[in-house]
């Protein structure tokens, strides 16, 4: 015998000063990272510490809105809550950053996933595109071929 059960627990994640600055900047169509004073790496999205040096980080810097693809996958498997397949997800290193941030790549033809478009090659140039009304969410922007 099985008894149905369900967890419905709302969370309001405290995201801290660094991520708050990042999301507030998205509303202004800007993208922020943080620069470690020790190693000078610029992480996007910003954190309050450097994962490499294990030191606190306070300096926020604006990074560019062009970048290169460091990793990309085209998803053909449908999944609850995801966009209609196929779609492309990439990690892109933006100008001035030393780490990559994930988001969707739009504006590419994915009708034949056996021959992925050249625009999705690793190292390809992409640009950030913002939606009409940025709301301070990671979904405010995506990437498109430059």
């Amino acid at each position: 015998m099985r008894i149905p059960g369900e967890w419905r627990i709302p969370y309001n994640y405290t995201i801290g000063d660094s991520a708050t600055s990042f999301f507030e900047a998205l509303r202004e169509r800007r993208i922020l990272g943080c620069r470690c004073a020790s190693c000078e790496r610029v992480a996007v999205p910003p954190k309050s510490f450097c994962e490499h040096c294990f030191l606190p980080v306070t300096e926020l810097v604006e990074v560019g809105q062009h970048g290169v693809i460091e990793a990309v996958t085209v998803v053909t498997a449908p999944f609850a809550g995801s966009p209609p397949v196929p779609y492309a997800v990439a990690y892109v290193r933006l100008e001035g950053a030393t780490s990559a941030i994930a988001n969707y790549v739009q504006g590419v033809d994915l009708s034949d996933v056996t021959t992925l478009p050249a625009a999705l090659k690793i190292g390809s140039d992409v640009q950030v595109v913002f939606g009409d009304e940025p709301a301070g969410r990671v979904t405010d922007f995506w990437f498109e071929p430059a």
């Binding site: 059960g5 991520a19 996958t73 053909t76 498997a77 999944f79 990690y91």
Partner: protein
């Protein structure tokens, strides 16, 4: 970490399943596994000083599942430890407890009863919530993004055929010089790579964990008789063997390599390796995380 002599022994073990569905309540399954492992060791619950388990509240659907399942793990009025990771991590913690002298004998157990749950609903909760879960992409893409960064080419995240299986598993660890020891765990290794930050070769954590376990055991990969692989279903034999520096024929995969045993995978593989009675040192490796960013390894040998 160096575990002082004597080494840690394995006195008994039991694996229930894997099966599409193991009937019975979760605590009954766990009891069946732990009590059978004690029987296999010729021991009773009064002979053990505690339990170390690998479990996940999320997968179990219970808040603080250690408390709700305490009776079945055999830890009433005893030391109870839990890791929220693959069960080889519980072996590592339990072995440290025995090797330190804090316990003479310990139950290490793990389980997965995902037949109770909708894994498609559970999987996304493993994603970091602010920058990744909000995007809502397929959790399997995490591994394929790591592969993309490593290979320098776009990948395709196609339909995944991992199938959940129910399993309950337990082993009894004893001091290495115990007459009950039928096998010994002589090396441990663990390694954690960056999560959701592609760039590191996918199998680096597995290789690092395996190397650490072999180093601790004082054996080289050339000395190994077999390599039992837990999980890692989306890594093919050639890539894994190449990463570990062993021949492909050395690898021992589960009967259902596409089965998802959750956190119980590592201990299940270790118990299967014990049951195989292979002569010589045997390596057991496991990896967790959506992209195999977290790996564990043990080296064991029969007495």
């Amino acid at each position: 970490m160096t575990i002082p002599s004597p080494r840690v022994g394995i006195a008994g073990s039991r694996v229930l399943g894997p099966a599409v569905e193991l009937p019975g309540a979760l605590d009954a399954l766990i009891y069946n596994a732990t009590s059978a492992a004690l029987d296999d060791a010729g021991m009773s619950i009064t002979d053990v000083d505690g339990a170390c388990m690998a479990a996940s509240d999320l997968l179990d659907g219970r808040a603080i599942s250690t408390m709700t399942l305490t009776g079945s793990t055999g830890s009433f009025r005893k030391t109870e430890m839990r890791v929220c990771n693959d069960s080889l991590a519980a072996v590592l913690v339990g072995a440290a407890e025995v090797a330190s002298g804090a316990a003479d004998a310990l139950i290490v157990c793990s389980w997965s009863k995902l037949s109770d749950a909708d894994s498609n609903a559970v999987l996304p909760l493993a994603m970091e919530p602010v920058f990744h879960r909000a995007l809502g992409f397929h959790p399997a893409a995490v591994l394929d993004l790591r592969r993309s960064a490593e290979s320098g080419a776009a990948t395709v995240t196609a339909d995944q055929s991992l199938e959940s299986r129910d399993v309950a598993v337990a082993t009894i660890l004893v001091a290495g010089d115990s007459p009950r020891a039928r096998a010994h765990v002589i090396g441990f290794g663990a390694s954690t790579g960056p999560y959701l930050r592609p760039g590191e070769p996918v199998l680096d954590p597995v290789r690092a964990a395996a190397t650490a376990a072999c180093d601790m055991a004082g054996v080289s990969v050339n000395d190994l008789s077999a390599v039992h692989v837990a999980g890692l279903a989306r890594v093919d034999d050639d890539a894994l063997a190449d990463s570990l520096g062993v021949a492909t024929g050395m690898l021992v995969r589960p009967a259902e390599p596409w089965a998802d045993l959750g956190y119980a995978a590592g201990l299940t593989a270790m118990c299967r390796a014990h049951e195989a009675q292979t002569t010589g040192p045997v390596l057991v490796v496991s990896a967790g995380g959506l992209g195999y960013e977290n790996a564990f390894a043990v080296v064991m040998e029969q007495t």
